[in-house]
Structures are given as C-alpha cells and as structure tokens.
Symmetry: C2
Subunit: 239 residues, 2 copies
Amino acid sequence: MEWLPLEMIAFDADDTLWENERYYQEGRQLFEALLAKYPLSGDLAALLDATEMRNLPVYGYGVPGFAFSMIETAIEATHGMVSSRDIQALVDLSKQMLTAEMALFAQAEETVARLSAVYPLMLITKGDLRHQLSKLERSGLKGYFQHVEVVQDKNSQIYADILTRHHLAAKRFLMVGNSLRSDILPVVALGGRAIYVPNSLTWSHEQVEPPETAWGRYYQVARLGEVPGLIEQLSTETS
Amino acid sequence: MEWLPLEMIAFDADDTLWENERYYQEGRQLFEALLAKYPLSGDLAALLDATEMRNLPVYGYGVPGFAFSMIETAIEATHGMVSSRDIQALVDLSKQMLTAEMALFAQAEETVARLSAVYPLMLITKGDLRHQLSKLERSGLKGYFQHVEVVQDKNSQIYADILTRHHLAAKRFLMVGNSLRSDILPVVALGGRAIYVPNSLTWSHEQVEPPETAWGRYYQVARLGEVPGLIEQLSTETS
C-alpha cells in the first residue's frame, strides 16, 4: 500500500491520551459496594450493562447517561428499596467523574508535541461536548491541536464528513486510537491510515474482532510514545 | 449606523425556532406535583433554582443537569423521604424531555426557507451537542442551515470565535434570537446586527435589562414571521 505524505494526524482522546474507562470501572465498583447491603434480584453488573445499552439512544455516550443508568438499575435491582442517600451518592459520583483530575498517559504530551511540530493535529472524540472540551482544557494539550471534533458516534460516515469538511484525502489522514471499533476500522474502511494503541482497560462495548479485510491495513504499537517514531519510519521508508 | 449587505444570518434554536422552555416549565410542574404529598422544608421552586445554578458549572445547560438537580432537590426537600418510585419518575421525565415531539413556532419553516434563498444561514445553539443535533434533525429545518454551532455558552468571546472561524465581519453578521442575554447583547457588543424576537416563556436565568449602550443597536419584532420582511426593508432602504 503506497504511503503518501500525511496532511493531518488525528487522535482519539479518552483512553488514548488520558485515562477514562478507569473512572467508569471505579464507578461500577462504588455502585456495587453501595448496593451490597440490599437483597438484590439478578446479576447487578449485567443489569447495569443492559440498562446502559437501552439508554444509549436517549442519553448518548458520557457520564450523565451512565449515572442515570446506575440510578435506574439501583431502583430496579433493589425492588425500590434503595435509599435516597444511596441515590444521592450516585448523583455525587457523576459530579466527581465530570470534574475528576485528568490523568494523562505516559508520553502523551511528548507524543503530540513532537507530531505537532511536523503535522497539523486534530482531536476526534466521542461524547458530551461540554465534558470533552473541559477535559481538553484541563489536560494542557489543547494548544497542540488545530481542530477539535466532538462527535456523537464514530463510524465511517462521520469520519467521511470530517474529511470532507477539512478538505482532506483519506490516504493523507492518519488516526491514532485505542478502539478498533471506533478509531481504527472505520478509518481503514475509508482508505485512511490508522495506528492502534491498545489499552488494558477498554469498555466491553468497544471490543470487536477486526474483520479479515482490515488485516494488515493498520499499524499497532504497544505504547503511545512509539507513535512518532513509527510515523517517521513509514514516511522515510517510502519517500 | 451604516447597513452593510449581510454575509450570514444566524438563528438561535430553543425558544426562537421551537418550543423549549415550555418543557422545562411542565417538568417543574410535574416535579412539584410529585412532591406535594411529602412534608417539605423550604420553597421547592427556590430550592430547585438554587440547585440548578450550583450544578450549572458541572453539568452545563440541558436536560441531564435539570434532571439531576430535580433528584437532588427532591432528596433534600423531603429530608430523604422521597420514594425511589418518584425518583424513577424524574429519570423518566428526563427521557421524555430528550425525546419529546418538536413543536415549531408558527412560520418558523417559512422564515428560514425565505431567508435561506438569499443568505447562508447558521444555527447557533447552546446545550448538549447530541440533544441539539437530535432536535435539529427532528425539526425538519436542518436542510436550511449551512452551518451548525453548538456552544457551551453564548458570550461575545464565543461569537467572536465563530466569526473568525467563518471569516465573517461582525457588521455583515446578523443574529436572530429570543434572549437578550445570549443572542442579542453579545452580538451587538461586537458590532454585529441582531433581531430580538421575545418569547413569552423565557427562563429567568436568561432575563436581563439591556444596558443603555445597546439601545437602538438591535431590532425587535413581535413574531418570527416578521424577520424576513424587516431584513428586506433594512437592505432596501440603505442600498
């Protein structure tokens, strides 16, 4: 596959540049601990998953939908016995998650700094506009990105719209992210480039097996810090 | 004040093109009716207002923050006596509000259709990205707008950023909206044009008295349907 000079490098944000899923997993643990004192009907984790999936079309991705789903699941699983004090604890958890300290991954800043010296960078992130922009501000990385796209979902159509809007050819666009489903496969399907940086914590909803047609069409590195070197190597080999 | 030909007309969405505040007022009524059976401490409406204002920096504008504030206020005002059934009713209300039928104001479509035949149109709306885009889709008006900006707040800095991004001169930009605070005064302060279309239902948070410096620097009409005629008249008189 011919390697053309890149005109834009885009990064996913949550779980690619900074911790995110960890807060949800900690939230789930708090949720289970809060409800441990009640007699429960059914498997709490499975009930919460099902409620989240049912609520996704209404609330979308993000903390508010997660918190409403916890509240609903708490009421359902305890047959309405859950105390208002415990419901308040779930509301408080949503506030803590929305204002939590940013935890950047090792070499996140170094990586975007190195690349931004050579390429225009774009952030493409899914979720609530306000919360995503707030995290970008607090991350200290905002200045490295020329464009920020907060999208409702990440599929090939949405990536195609972004490419059109920014007058970019897919072959000259590279996406870096931790989710095969959201960051890698839809970009590869358009003929774009992608570097997969797996994260040990990935939401089950994001986990997919790559189809055979995607084999060999994206790159994979173990750590974010390896991304600039890989791009440099690919650019040099083929120029 | 010299009238230059317009290069862009922007519309606010909520309570300018379609009903919005009505759903919040109905929500408040349901909230008060739900809690009427409990002995309450303090004035419920005032408590809810205070909770909303306190939560605004965390949740931002929109239905989720409103619903979390109702849940917190219900717990606080009933000293924790509120039943989980009533809390579930507040969660259900948030879902109803997020998926409610769109109610367009009279002549909304005619107004944007007439203007879009002559000018590029932009929608500038405050709130949750997902919910705002979902309402625009459902409104049937999406095709009339060349650009959509969903912003976290509406102040002069944010309007200035939008003008810069779209290479627009303030004097050639006109904003139409129902809120002096959010749609009219910040645009006038930049030297832009604005048409104020008051709405009988306006959230108290949006109500301000215009400062003297703004007097005579924006136009006012009673109904949305008068906007195209006013713009035509202003353009003809001065060309």
